[in-house]
Symmetry: C2
Subunit: 296 residues, 2 copies
Protein backbone atom coordinates (compact mmCIF):
# COMPACT_ATOMS: atom_id res chain seq x y z
CA UNK A 1 0.00 0.00 0.00
CA UNK A 2 1.48 3.36 -1.01
CA UNK A 3 1.83 6.09 1.61
CA UNK A 4 -0.08 9.26 0.85
CA UNK A 5 0.21 12.96 1.59
CA UNK A 6 -2.62 15.47 1.31
CA UNK A 7 -2.27 19.26 1.01
CA UNK A 8 -5.40 21.42 0.99
CA UNK A 9 -8.06 20.29 3.47
CA UNK A 10 -10.95 22.46 2.31
CA UNK A 11 -14.58 21.65 1.58
CA UNK A 12 -13.48 18.97 -0.90
CA UNK A 13 -10.03 18.01 0.38
CA UNK A 14 -10.95 17.23 3.99
CA UNK A 15 -13.58 14.57 3.25
CA UNK A 16 -11.39 13.13 0.47
CA UNK A 17 -8.45 12.81 2.88
CA UNK A 18 -10.75 11.28 5.48
CA UNK A 19 -11.80 8.60 2.98
CA UNK A 20 -8.13 7.72 2.48
CA UNK A 21 -7.76 7.21 6.24
CA UNK A 22 -10.91 5.08 6.28
CA UNK A 23 -9.48 2.95 3.48
CA UNK A 24 -6.39 2.30 5.60
CA UNK A 25 -3.81 4.49 3.88
CA UNK A 26 -0.99 5.91 5.98
CA UNK A 27 -1.59 9.66 5.59
CA UNK A 28 0.41 12.86 6.14
CA UNK A 29 -1.53 16.13 5.90
CA UNK A 30 -0.84 19.83 5.59
CA UNK A 31 -3.14 22.83 5.40
CA UNK A 32 -2.68 26.57 5.76
CA UNK A 33 -5.35 26.88 8.45
CA UNK A 34 -4.75 24.39 11.24
CA UNK A 35 -8.27 23.33 12.30
CA UNK A 36 -8.70 20.68 9.63
CA UNK A 37 -5.22 19.32 10.31
CA UNK A 38 -6.06 18.82 13.98
CA UNK A 39 -9.29 17.01 13.04
CA UNK A 40 -7.53 14.57 10.73
CA UNK A 41 -4.63 14.02 13.14
CA UNK A 42 -7.23 13.06 15.75
CA UNK A 43 -8.49 10.48 13.23
CA UNK A 44 -5.05 8.97 12.66
CA UNK A 45 -3.17 11.17 10.19
CA UNK A 46 0.32 12.60 10.75
CA UNK A 47 0.99 16.25 10.02
CA UNK A 48 3.83 18.13 8.35
CA UNK A 49 4.76 21.78 8.38
CA UNK A 50 5.06 22.41 4.64
CA UNK A 51 4.15 20.89 1.26
CA UNK A 52 7.84 20.06 0.74
CA UNK A 53 7.94 18.16 4.04
CA UNK A 54 4.77 16.21 3.16
CA UNK A 55 6.24 15.28 -0.21
CA UNK A 56 9.45 14.04 1.41
CA UNK A 57 7.55 11.61 3.65
CA UNK A 58 5.25 9.80 1.20
CA UNK A 59 5.03 7.93 -2.11
CA UNK A 60 2.09 9.91 -3.45
CA UNK A 61 1.35 13.54 -2.56
CA UNK A 62 -2.06 14.97 -3.41
CA UNK A 63 -3.26 18.58 -3.61
CA UNK A 64 -6.83 19.83 -3.70
CA UNK A 65 -6.75 23.64 -3.93
CA UNK A 66 -8.94 26.45 -5.30
CA UNK A 67 -7.20 27.64 -8.48
CA UNK A 68 -4.13 27.53 -10.72
CA UNK A 69 -2.05 30.11 -8.75
CA UNK A 70 -2.63 28.19 -5.49
CA UNK A 71 -1.48 24.95 -7.06
CA UNK A 72 1.52 26.61 -8.68
CA UNK A 73 2.57 28.09 -5.34
CA UNK A 74 2.17 24.84 -3.38
CA UNK A 75 3.89 22.80 -6.09
CA UNK A 76 6.70 25.12 -7.21
CA UNK A 77 6.93 27.95 -4.64
CA UNK A 78 9.24 28.16 -1.59
CA UNK A 79 8.68 25.03 0.54
CA UNK A 80 6.76 23.64 -2.43
CA UNK A 81 6.31 19.99 -3.33
CA UNK A 82 9.01 20.08 -6.01
CA UNK A 83 11.62 20.84 -3.30
CA UNK A 84 10.76 17.78 -1.20
CA UNK A 85 9.46 15.10 -3.56
CA UNK A 86 11.39 11.82 -3.75
CA UNK A 87 12.87 10.55 -6.99
CA UNK A 88 10.15 8.34 -8.47
CA UNK A 89 7.52 10.06 -6.31
CA UNK A 90 4.12 10.95 -7.74
CA UNK A 91 2.38 14.29 -7.35
CA UNK A 92 -1.38 14.13 -7.95
CA UNK A 93 -3.24 17.42 -8.36
CA UNK A 94 -6.98 16.95 -7.86
CA UNK A 95 -7.79 20.66 -8.11
CA UNK A 96 -9.53 22.04 -11.21
CA UNK A 97 -6.88 24.21 -12.86
CA UNK A 98 -5.55 25.14 -16.28
CA UNK A 99 -3.91 22.28 -18.19
CA UNK A 100 -1.27 24.84 -19.17
CA UNK A 101 -0.25 25.22 -15.50
CA UNK A 102 -0.41 21.44 -15.13
CA UNK A 103 2.10 20.98 -17.94
CA UNK A 104 4.46 23.54 -16.39
CA UNK A 105 4.43 21.74 -13.04
CA UNK A 106 4.80 18.31 -14.65
CA UNK A 107 7.88 19.56 -16.50
CA UNK A 108 9.43 20.89 -13.28
CA UNK A 109 8.79 17.56 -11.50
CA UNK A 110 10.22 15.56 -14.39
CA UNK A 111 13.53 17.36 -13.84
CA UNK A 112 13.57 15.92 -10.31
CA UNK A 113 12.78 12.41 -11.58
CA UNK A 114 9.22 12.63 -10.22
CA UNK A 115 5.86 12.19 -11.93
CA UNK A 116 2.64 14.16 -12.05
CA UNK A 117 -0.98 13.19 -12.55
CA UNK A 118 -3.75 15.73 -13.05
CA UNK A 119 -6.91 14.26 -11.56
CA UNK A 120 -9.74 16.77 -11.24
CA UNK A 121 -13.03 15.51 -9.87
CA UNK A 122 -16.71 16.07 -10.33
CA UNK A 123 -19.50 15.23 -7.94
CA UNK A 124 -19.20 18.10 -5.46
CA UNK A 125 -18.98 18.05 -1.68
CA UNK A 126 -21.49 15.22 -1.49
CA UNK A 127 -19.35 13.08 -3.79
CA UNK A 128 -16.27 13.92 -1.76
CA UNK A 129 -17.96 12.86 1.50
CA UNK A 130 -19.49 9.67 0.09
CA UNK A 131 -16.44 8.67 -2.00
CA UNK A 132 -18.57 8.76 -5.14
CA UNK A 133 -16.54 11.32 -7.09
CA UNK A 134 -15.83 10.97 -10.79
CA UNK A 135 -12.08 11.33 -11.29
CA UNK A 136 -10.61 12.25 -14.69
CA UNK A 137 -6.91 11.49 -14.83
CA UNK A 138 -4.11 12.67 -17.10
CA UNK A 139 -0.50 11.43 -17.00
CA UNK A 140 1.53 8.27 -17.49
CA UNK A 141 -0.13 4.85 -17.41
CA UNK A 142 2.39 3.58 -14.83
CA UNK A 143 1.72 6.44 -12.41
CA UNK A 144 -2.03 6.00 -12.98
CA UNK A 145 -1.86 2.31 -12.10
CA UNK A 146 0.15 3.04 -8.94
CA UNK A 147 -2.44 5.60 -7.81
CA UNK A 148 -5.57 3.71 -8.85
CA UNK A 149 -6.24 2.25 -5.35
CA UNK A 150 -5.86 5.76 -3.93
CA UNK A 151 -8.40 7.12 -6.41
CA UNK A 152 -10.76 4.22 -5.76
CA UNK A 153 -10.84 5.15 -2.08
CA UNK A 154 -12.20 8.60 -3.01
CA UNK A 155 -14.28 8.04 -6.12
CA UNK A 156 -16.56 5.68 -7.95
CA UNK A 157 -15.70 6.35 -11.60
CA UNK A 158 -11.99 6.70 -12.34
CA UNK A 159 -11.02 7.26 -15.99
CA UNK A 160 -7.52 7.54 -17.43
CA UNK A 161 -7.99 10.18 -20.15
CA UNK A 162 -4.51 10.37 -21.68
CA UNK A 163 -1.23 12.19 -21.07
CA UNK A 164 -0.46 15.18 -18.84
CA UNK A 165 -3.33 17.69 -18.81
CA UNK A 166 -5.91 15.30 -20.28
CA UNK A 167 -7.78 15.15 -16.98
CA UNK A 168 -8.01 18.95 -16.79
CA UNK A 169 -9.09 19.16 -20.44
CA UNK A 170 -11.89 16.66 -19.76
CA UNK A 171 -12.98 18.61 -16.70
CA UNK A 172 -13.07 21.80 -18.80
CA UNK A 173 -15.34 20.00 -21.31
CA UNK A 174 -17.59 18.93 -18.46
CA UNK A 175 -17.80 22.46 -17.08
CA UNK A 176 -18.63 23.91 -20.51
CA UNK A 177 -21.56 21.53 -20.92
CA UNK A 178 -22.91 22.01 -17.40
CA UNK A 179 -22.68 25.83 -17.59
CA UNK A 180 -24.39 25.96 -20.98
CA UNK A 181 -27.15 23.60 -19.83
CA UNK A 182 -27.91 25.75 -16.81
CA UNK A 183 -27.84 28.90 -18.97
CA UNK A 184 -30.14 27.30 -21.56
CA UNK A 185 -32.72 26.33 -18.95
CA UNK A 186 -32.52 29.81 -17.37
CA UNK A 187 -33.06 31.69 -20.65
CA UNK A 188 -35.89 29.36 -21.67
CA UNK A 189 -37.76 29.69 -18.38
CA UNK A 190 -37.46 33.48 -18.29
CA UNK A 191 -38.82 33.67 -21.84
CA UNK A 192 -41.65 31.29 -21.02
CA UNK A 193 -42.61 33.01 -17.80
CA UNK A 194 -42.61 36.53 -19.24
CA UNK A 195 -44.65 35.23 -22.20
CA UNK A 196 -47.24 34.12 -19.67
CA UNK A 197 -46.65 30.38 -19.33
CA UNK A 198 -46.17 28.71 -15.94
CA UNK A 199 -42.48 27.68 -15.85
CA UNK A 200 -43.24 24.61 -13.76
CA UNK A 201 -45.62 23.41 -16.44
CA UNK A 202 -42.99 24.06 -19.13
CA UNK A 203 -40.51 21.85 -17.28
CA UNK A 204 -43.09 19.07 -16.99
CA UNK A 205 -44.05 19.31 -20.66
CA UNK A 206 -40.53 19.13 -22.09
CA UNK A 207 -38.49 17.16 -19.53
CA UNK A 208 -39.14 13.81 -21.20
CA UNK A 209 -38.01 14.82 -24.70
CA UNK A 210 -34.84 16.01 -26.41
CA UNK A 211 -34.52 18.92 -23.94
CA UNK A 212 -33.94 16.53 -21.07
CA UNK A 213 -30.75 17.20 -19.12
CA UNK A 214 -29.37 17.33 -15.62
CA UNK A 215 -29.98 21.08 -15.32
CA UNK A 216 -33.64 20.84 -16.36
CA UNK A 217 -34.20 18.01 -13.91
CA UNK A 218 -32.12 19.21 -10.94
CA UNK A 219 -31.83 23.00 -11.25
CA UNK A 220 -35.05 24.23 -12.91
CA UNK A 221 -36.88 23.61 -9.58
CA UNK A 222 -34.26 25.73 -7.77
CA UNK A 223 -34.66 28.51 -10.33
CA UNK A 224 -38.43 28.48 -9.96
CA UNK A 225 -38.16 28.59 -6.16
CA UNK A 226 -35.26 31.06 -6.20
CA UNK A 227 -33.40 28.63 -3.94
CA UNK A 228 -29.76 29.39 -4.66
CA UNK A 229 -27.84 27.80 -1.78
CA UNK A 230 -24.97 26.00 -3.51
CA UNK A 231 -24.73 23.38 -5.01
CA UNK A 232 -21.90 24.76 -7.06
CA UNK A 233 -21.05 28.42 -6.63
CA UNK A 234 -21.34 30.79 -9.57
CA UNK A 235 -17.85 32.12 -8.82
CA UNK A 236 -16.40 28.61 -9.15
CA UNK A 237 -18.14 28.05 -12.46
CA UNK A 238 -16.77 31.41 -13.61
CA UNK A 239 -13.29 30.25 -12.63
CA UNK A 240 -13.76 26.95 -14.49
CA UNK A 241 -15.05 28.69 -17.63
CA UNK A 242 -12.01 30.99 -17.52
CA UNK A 243 -9.91 27.82 -17.50
CA UNK A 244 -11.84 26.51 -20.53
CA UNK A 245 -11.31 29.78 -22.40
CA UNK A 246 -7.63 29.85 -21.36
CA UNK A 247 -7.23 26.27 -22.60
CA UNK A 248 -8.92 27.25 -25.87
CA UNK A 249 -6.40 30.07 -26.27
CA UNK A 250 -3.47 27.76 -25.58
CA UNK A 251 -4.59 25.15 -28.11
CA UNK A 252 -5.91 27.50 -30.81
CA UNK A 253 -9.63 26.91 -30.38
CA UNK A 254 -12.48 29.42 -30.57
CA UNK A 255 -15.42 28.92 -28.20
CA UNK A 256 -17.96 31.63 -29.05
CA UNK A 257 -20.80 30.36 -26.86
CA UNK A 258 -18.69 29.27 -23.88
CA UNK A 259 -16.89 32.62 -24.10
CA UNK A 260 -20.17 34.48 -23.79
CA UNK A 261 -21.40 32.31 -20.93
CA UNK A 262 -18.04 32.82 -19.18
CA UNK A 263 -18.58 36.58 -19.39
CA UNK A 264 -22.12 36.21 -17.99
CA UNK A 265 -20.74 34.30 -15.01
CA UNK A 266 -18.20 37.11 -14.68
CA UNK A 267 -21.16 39.49 -14.45
CA UNK A 268 -22.65 37.32 -11.69
CA UNK A 269 -19.44 37.73 -9.69
CA UNK A 270 -19.28 41.48 -10.36
CA UNK A 271 -22.91 41.79 -9.22
CA UNK A 272 -22.06 40.16 -5.89
CA UNK A 273 -23.75 36.86 -6.76
CA UNK A 274 -20.62 34.72 -6.84
CA UNK A 275 -21.55 32.80 -3.69
CA UNK A 276 -24.95 31.77 -5.06
CA UNK A 277 -25.47 28.48 -6.87
CA UNK A 278 -24.66 28.63 -10.60
CA UNK A 279 -28.39 28.27 -11.35
CA UNK A 280 -28.78 31.85 -10.03
CA UNK A 281 -27.74 32.91 -13.55
CA UNK A 282 -31.53 32.93 -14.02
CA UNK A 283 -31.65 36.11 -11.91
CA UNK A 284 -29.38 37.82 -14.44
CA UNK A 285 -31.82 37.03 -17.26
CA UNK A 286 -34.71 38.10 -15.05
CA UNK A 287 -33.02 41.47 -14.58
CA UNK A 288 -32.30 41.79 -18.31
CA UNK A 289 -35.99 41.12 -19.00
CA UNK A 290 -37.17 43.24 -16.05
CA UNK A 291 -39.24 40.32 -14.82
CA UNK A 292 -39.35 37.57 -12.21
CA UNK A 293 -39.76 33.88 -12.95
CA UNK A 294 -42.61 33.43 -10.52
CA UNK A 295 -44.95 36.32 -9.85
CA UNK A 296 -46.71 34.58 -6.94
CA UNK B 1 -66.63 11.80 -32.64
CA UNK B 2 -65.68 15.14 -34.17
CA UNK B 3 -65.00 15.39 -37.89
CA UNK B 4 -61.50 16.54 -38.78
CA UNK B 5 -59.81 18.40 -41.63
CA UNK B 6 -56.07 18.38 -42.30
CA UNK B 7 -54.13 20.91 -44.39
CA UNK B 8 -50.42 20.35 -45.03
CA UNK B 9 -49.50 16.74 -45.72
CA UNK B 10 -45.72 16.99 -45.55
CA UNK B 11 -43.13 14.89 -43.74
CA UNK B 12 -44.96 15.44 -40.44
CA UNK B 13 -48.53 16.11 -41.59
CA UNK B 14 -49.07 13.03 -43.72
CA UNK B 15 -48.31 10.43 -41.04
CA UNK B 16 -50.24 12.50 -38.47
CA UNK B 17 -53.30 12.59 -40.76
CA UNK B 18 -52.92 8.87 -41.40
CA UNK B 19 -53.05 8.21 -37.65
CA UNK B 20 -56.36 10.10 -37.51
CA UNK B 21 -57.78 7.81 -40.21
CA UNK B 22 -56.49 4.76 -38.33
CA UNK B 23 -58.21 6.01 -35.17
CA UNK B 24 -61.53 6.17 -37.07
CA UNK B 25 -61.92 9.91 -37.56
CA UNK B 26 -63.83 11.10 -40.62
CA UNK B 27 -61.15 13.13 -42.41
CA UNK B 28 -61.05 15.79 -45.15
CA UNK B 29 -57.59 16.67 -46.50
CA UNK B 30 -55.98 19.38 -48.59
CA UNK B 31 -52.40 19.88 -49.76
CA UNK B 32 -50.72 22.08 -52.35
CA UNK B 33 -49.02 19.15 -54.07
CA UNK B 34 -51.55 16.43 -54.90
CA UNK B 35 -49.60 13.18 -54.38
CA UNK B 36 -50.15 12.98 -50.64
CA UNK B 37 -53.83 13.82 -51.07
CA UNK B 38 -54.29 10.88 -53.47
CA UNK B 39 -52.55 8.54 -51.00
CA UNK B 40 -54.79 9.52 -48.10
CA UNK B 41 -57.95 9.46 -50.26
CA UNK B 42 -57.02 5.88 -51.18
CA UNK B 43 -56.90 5.16 -47.44
CA UNK B 44 -60.36 6.61 -46.81
CA UNK B 45 -60.06 10.41 -46.59
CA UNK B 46 -62.15 12.88 -48.56
CA UNK B 47 -60.44 15.79 -50.30
CA UNK B 48 -61.27 19.45 -50.69
CA UNK B 49 -59.91 22.06 -53.07
CA UNK B 50 -58.97 24.78 -50.58
CA UNK B 51 -58.35 25.37 -46.86
CA UNK B 52 -61.64 27.32 -46.73
CA UNK B 53 -63.52 24.36 -48.19
CA UNK B 54 -61.92 21.95 -45.71
CA UNK B 55 -62.86 24.23 -42.83
CA UNK B 56 -66.47 24.42 -44.03
CA UNK B 57 -66.87 20.63 -43.93
CA UNK B 58 -65.50 19.72 -40.48
CA UNK B 59 -65.64 20.45 -36.74
CA UNK B 60 -61.89 20.68 -36.28
CA UNK B 61 -59.44 21.80 -38.96
CA UNK B 62 -55.73 21.16 -38.45
CA UNK B 63 -52.69 22.65 -40.19
CA UNK B 64 -49.11 21.38 -40.13
CA UNK B 65 -46.95 23.73 -42.21
CA UNK B 66 -43.32 24.88 -42.39
CA UNK B 67 -43.32 28.42 -40.97
CA UNK B 68 -45.32 31.44 -39.79
CA UNK B 69 -45.95 32.96 -43.27
CA UNK B 70 -47.30 29.62 -44.57
CA UNK B 71 -49.71 29.34 -41.65
CA UNK B 72 -50.78 32.96 -41.99
CA UNK B 73 -51.53 32.46 -45.71
CA UNK B 74 -53.48 29.22 -45.20
CA UNK B 75 -55.40 30.63 -42.23
CA UNK B 76 -56.06 34.22 -43.30
CA UNK B 77 -55.23 34.46 -47.04
CA UNK B 78 -57.63 34.13 -50.01
CA UNK B 79 -59.45 30.78 -49.68
CA UNK B 80 -58.02 30.62 -46.16
CA UNK B 81 -59.53 28.79 -43.22
CA UNK B 82 -61.04 31.97 -41.74
CA UNK B 83 -63.29 32.30 -44.81
CA UNK B 84 -64.80 28.83 -44.47
CA UNK B 85 -64.75 27.95 -40.78
CA UNK B 86 -68.12 27.29 -39.09
CA UNK B 87 -69.30 29.30 -36.12
CA UNK B 88 -68.06 27.34 -33.10
CA UNK B 89 -65.48 25.56 -35.24
CA UNK B 90 -61.96 24.96 -33.96
CA UNK B 91 -58.76 25.63 -35.88
CA UNK B 92 -55.72 23.74 -34.56
CA UNK B 93 -52.30 24.79 -35.81
CA UNK B 94 -49.71 22.08 -35.16
CA UNK B 95 -46.88 23.89 -36.99
CA UNK B 96 -44.04 25.50 -35.05
CA UNK B 97 -44.53 29.23 -35.58
CA UNK B 98 -44.32 32.54 -33.77
CA UNK B 99 -46.81 32.97 -30.92
CA UNK B 100 -47.24 36.51 -32.23
CA UNK B 101 -48.66 35.15 -35.51
CA UNK B 102 -50.75 32.69 -33.51
CA UNK B 103 -52.37 35.51 -31.58
CA UNK B 104 -53.14 37.42 -34.77
CA UNK B 105 -54.89 34.40 -36.31
CA UNK B 106 -56.76 33.59 -33.10
CA UNK B 107 -58.09 37.16 -33.04
CA UNK B 108 -59.32 36.92 -36.65
CA UNK B 109 -61.08 33.62 -35.92
CA UNK B 110 -62.70 34.99 -32.77
CA UNK B 111 -64.42 37.60 -34.95
CA UNK B 112 -66.06 34.70 -36.84
CA UNK B 113 -67.13 33.01 -33.61
CA UNK B 114 -64.49 30.30 -34.08
CA UNK B 115 -61.67 29.11 -31.80
CA UNK B 116 -57.99 28.46 -32.21
CA UNK B 117 -55.56 26.14 -30.50
CA UNK B 118 -51.80 26.28 -31.06
CA UNK B 119 -50.47 22.75 -30.71
CA UNK B 120 -46.86 22.39 -31.85
CA UNK B 121 -45.27 18.98 -31.50
CA UNK B 122 -41.92 17.46 -30.71
CA UNK B 123 -40.71 13.97 -31.50
CA UNK B 124 -39.89 14.32 -35.19
CA UNK B 125 -40.93 12.21 -38.16
CA UNK B 126 -40.59 9.04 -36.10
CA UNK B 127 -43.00 10.39 -33.49
CA UNK B 128 -45.42 11.45 -36.21
CA UNK B 129 -45.42 7.97 -37.76
CA UNK B 130 -45.69 6.10 -34.46
CA UNK B 131 -48.20 8.48 -32.87
CA UNK B 132 -45.75 9.16 -30.03
CA UNK B 133 -45.48 12.94 -30.45
CA UNK B 134 -45.40 15.31 -27.50
CA UNK B 135 -48.07 17.96 -28.10
CA UNK B 136 -47.95 21.33 -26.31
CA UNK B 137 -51.29 23.09 -26.51
CA UNK B 138 -52.36 26.70 -26.02
CA UNK B 139 -55.94 28.01 -26.11
CA UNK B 140 -59.22 27.65 -24.26
CA UNK B 141 -59.86 24.70 -21.97
CA UNK B 142 -63.16 23.89 -23.73
CA UNK B 143 -61.56 23.72 -27.18
CA UNK B 144 -58.70 21.68 -25.70
CA UNK B 145 -61.13 19.14 -24.22
CA UNK B 146 -63.02 18.86 -27.53
CA UNK B 147 -59.78 18.17 -29.40
CA UNK B 148 -58.13 15.91 -26.82
CA UNK B 149 -59.22 12.64 -28.54
CA UNK B 150 -57.83 14.03 -31.81
CA UNK B 151 -54.48 14.81 -30.16
CA UNK B 152 -54.39 11.42 -28.46
CA UNK B 153 -54.64 9.74 -31.87
CA UNK B 154 -51.40 11.48 -32.91
CA UNK B 155 -49.34 11.79 -29.73
CA UNK B 156 -48.47 10.22 -26.43
CA UNK B 157 -47.95 13.22 -24.16
CA UNK B 158 -50.52 15.99 -24.56
CA UNK B 159 -50.17 19.01 -22.26
CA UNK B 160 -52.48 22.02 -22.02
CA UNK B 161 -50.02 24.85 -21.38
CA UNK B 162 -52.32 27.85 -21.02
CA UNK B 163 -54.03 30.41 -23.25
CA UNK B 164 -53.46 31.25 -26.91
CA UNK B 165 -49.77 31.01 -27.85
CA UNK B 166 -48.73 29.04 -24.74
CA UNK B 167 -48.06 25.95 -26.85
CA UNK B 168 -45.76 27.87 -29.18
CA UNK B 169 -43.99 29.54 -26.25
CA UNK B 170 -43.33 26.12 -24.72
CA UNK B 171 -42.03 24.80 -28.03
CA UNK B 172 -39.69 27.82 -28.27
CA UNK B 173 -38.35 26.99 -24.77
CA UNK B 174 -37.79 23.40 -25.87
CA UNK B 175 -35.90 24.49 -28.98
CA UNK B 176 -33.69 26.87 -27.01
CA UNK B 177 -32.63 24.11 -24.65
CA UNK B 178 -32.03 21.53 -27.40
CA UNK B 179 -30.00 23.96 -29.55
CA UNK B 180 -27.84 25.07 -26.63
CA UNK B 181 -27.24 21.48 -25.53
CA UNK B 182 -26.05 20.49 -29.00
CA UNK B 183 -23.86 23.59 -29.20
CA UNK B 184 -22.38 22.92 -25.75
CA UNK B 185 -21.43 19.37 -26.65
CA UNK B 186 -19.96 20.53 -29.97
CA UNK B 187 -17.75 23.24 -28.43
CA UNK B 188 -16.61 20.91 -25.65
CA UNK B 189 -15.62 18.09 -27.99
CA UNK B 190 -13.74 20.38 -30.38
CA UNK B 191 -11.80 21.83 -27.42
CA UNK B 192 -11.08 18.37 -26.06
CA UNK B 193 -10.01 16.91 -29.38
CA UNK B 194 -7.70 19.78 -30.32
CA UNK B 195 -6.19 19.64 -26.82
CA UNK B 196 -5.30 16.03 -27.58
CA UNK B 197 -7.96 14.03 -25.74
CA UNK B 198 -10.01 11.33 -27.50
CA UNK B 199 -13.55 12.78 -27.75
CA UNK B 200 -15.14 9.35 -27.41
CA UNK B 201 -13.35 8.92 -24.10
CA UNK B 202 -14.50 12.36 -22.97
CA UNK B 203 -18.12 11.39 -23.63
CA UNK B 204 -17.72 8.17 -21.65
CA UNK B 205 -16.02 9.94 -18.74
CA UNK B 206 -18.64 12.69 -18.27
CA UNK B 207 -21.92 11.18 -19.55
CA UNK B 208 -22.94 9.90 -16.13
CA UNK B 209 -22.54 13.18 -14.23
CA UNK B 210 -24.01 16.68 -14.30
CA UNK B 211 -23.13 17.05 -18.00
CA UNK B 212 -25.59 14.33 -18.94
CA UNK B 213 -28.14 15.35 -21.53
CA UNK B 214 -29.91 14.13 -24.63
CA UNK B 215 -27.36 15.75 -26.95
CA UNK B 216 -24.36 14.16 -25.22
CA UNK B 217 -26.05 10.78 -25.32
CA UNK B 218 -27.66 10.89 -28.78
CA UNK B 219 -25.67 13.40 -30.85
CA UNK B 220 -22.05 13.26 -29.59
CA UNK B 221 -21.66 9.91 -31.43
CA UNK B 222 -22.94 11.53 -34.65
CA UNK B 223 -20.48 14.41 -34.21
CA UNK B 224 -17.57 12.03 -33.68
CA UNK B 225 -18.55 9.99 -36.76
CA UNK B 226 -19.46 13.07 -38.82
CA UNK B 227 -22.79 11.39 -39.52
CA UNK B 228 -25.10 14.31 -40.20
CA UNK B 229 -28.15 12.80 -41.90
CA UNK B 230 -31.10 14.42 -40.09
CA UNK B 231 -32.47 13.92 -37.44
CA UNK B 232 -33.49 17.55 -37.26
CA UNK B 233 -32.18 19.86 -39.95
CA UNK B 234 -29.97 22.81 -38.99
CA UNK B 235 -32.16 25.10 -41.11
CA UNK B 236 -35.24 24.11 -39.09
CA UNK B 237 -33.47 24.77 -35.81
CA UNK B 238 -32.40 28.15 -37.20
CA UNK B 239 -36.05 28.87 -38.01
CA UNK B 240 -37.13 27.81 -34.52
CA UNK B 241 -34.45 29.95 -32.83
CA UNK B 242 -35.58 32.92 -34.93
CA UNK B 243 -39.06 32.29 -33.50
CA UNK B 244 -37.61 32.25 -29.97
CA UNK B 245 -35.78 35.52 -30.56
CA UNK B 246 -38.88 37.04 -32.19
CA UNK B 247 -40.96 35.95 -29.20
CA UNK B 248 -38.37 37.49 -26.87
CA UNK B 249 -38.68 40.77 -28.77
CA UNK B 250 -42.47 40.70 -28.55
CA UNK B 251 -42.50 40.07 -24.80
CA UNK B 252 -39.54 42.26 -23.82
CA UNK B 253 -37.02 39.55 -23.02
CA UNK B 254 -33.28 39.49 -23.76
CA UNK B 255 -31.74 36.13 -24.68
CA UNK B 256 -28.01 36.74 -25.09
CA UNK B 257 -26.94 33.12 -25.44
CA UNK B 258 -29.88 31.92 -27.55
CA UNK B 259 -29.37 34.98 -29.75
CA UNK B 260 -25.76 34.01 -30.39
CA UNK B 261 -26.62 30.37 -31.07
CA UNK B 262 -29.38 31.54 -33.44
CA UNK B 263 -26.76 33.50 -35.40
CA UNK B 264 -24.47 30.46 -35.52
CA UNK B 265 -27.30 28.38 -37.00
CA UNK B 266 -27.79 31.23 -39.46
CA UNK B 267 -24.14 30.77 -40.41
CA UNK B 268 -24.78 27.06 -40.94
CA UNK B 269 -27.52 27.92 -43.43
CA UNK B 270 -25.37 30.56 -45.16
CA UNK B 271 -22.56 28.01 -45.47
CA UNK B 272 -24.88 25.58 -47.27
CA UNK B 273 -25.22 23.25 -44.27
CA UNK B 274 -28.91 23.84 -43.62
CA UNK B 275 -29.92 20.35 -44.72
CA UNK B 276 -27.52 18.64 -42.31
CA UNK B 277 -28.58 17.55 -38.85
CA UNK B 278 -28.33 20.28 -36.21
CA UNK B 279 -25.40 18.42 -34.63
CA UNK B 280 -23.35 19.46 -37.69
CA UNK B 281 -22.82 22.74 -35.80
CA UNK B 282 -19.69 20.89 -34.64
CA UNK B 283 -18.23 21.39 -38.15
CA UNK B 284 -18.52 25.15 -37.67
CA UNK B 285 -16.44 24.99 -34.48
CA UNK B 286 -14.00 22.65 -36.22
CA UNK B 287 -13.52 25.26 -38.93
CA UNK B 288 -13.12 28.07 -36.38
CA UNK B 289 -10.42 25.99 -34.66
CA UNK B 290 -8.91 24.80 -37.95
CA UNK B 291 -9.18 21.22 -36.74
CA UNK B 292 -11.22 18.05 -37.10
CA UNK B 293 -12.82 16.14 -34.26
CA UNK B 294 -11.31 12.82 -35.25
CA UNK B 295 -7.96 12.74 -36.99
CA UNK B 296 -8.15 9.02 -37.73
Amino acid sequence: MVTVGFVGLGVMGKPMARNLLKAGFSLVVHNRSRGSVAELVAEGAASASSPAEVAGKVDVVITCLPDSPDVERVALGPDGIVHGIREGGIYVDMSTISPVTTQKIADALAEKGAFMLDAPVSGGEEGAINATLSIMVGGSEAAFQTCLPVFQAMGRKVTHMGGTGAGQVTKACNQIITALQVTAVAEALVLGAKAGVDPQRIVEAIAGGAARCWALEQRAPWMIQHRFTPGFKSAYHYKDLLIAVDTAKAFGVSLPVSGLVCQLYGAMKAMGKGDLDNSAIVTLFEELAHTHLVSG
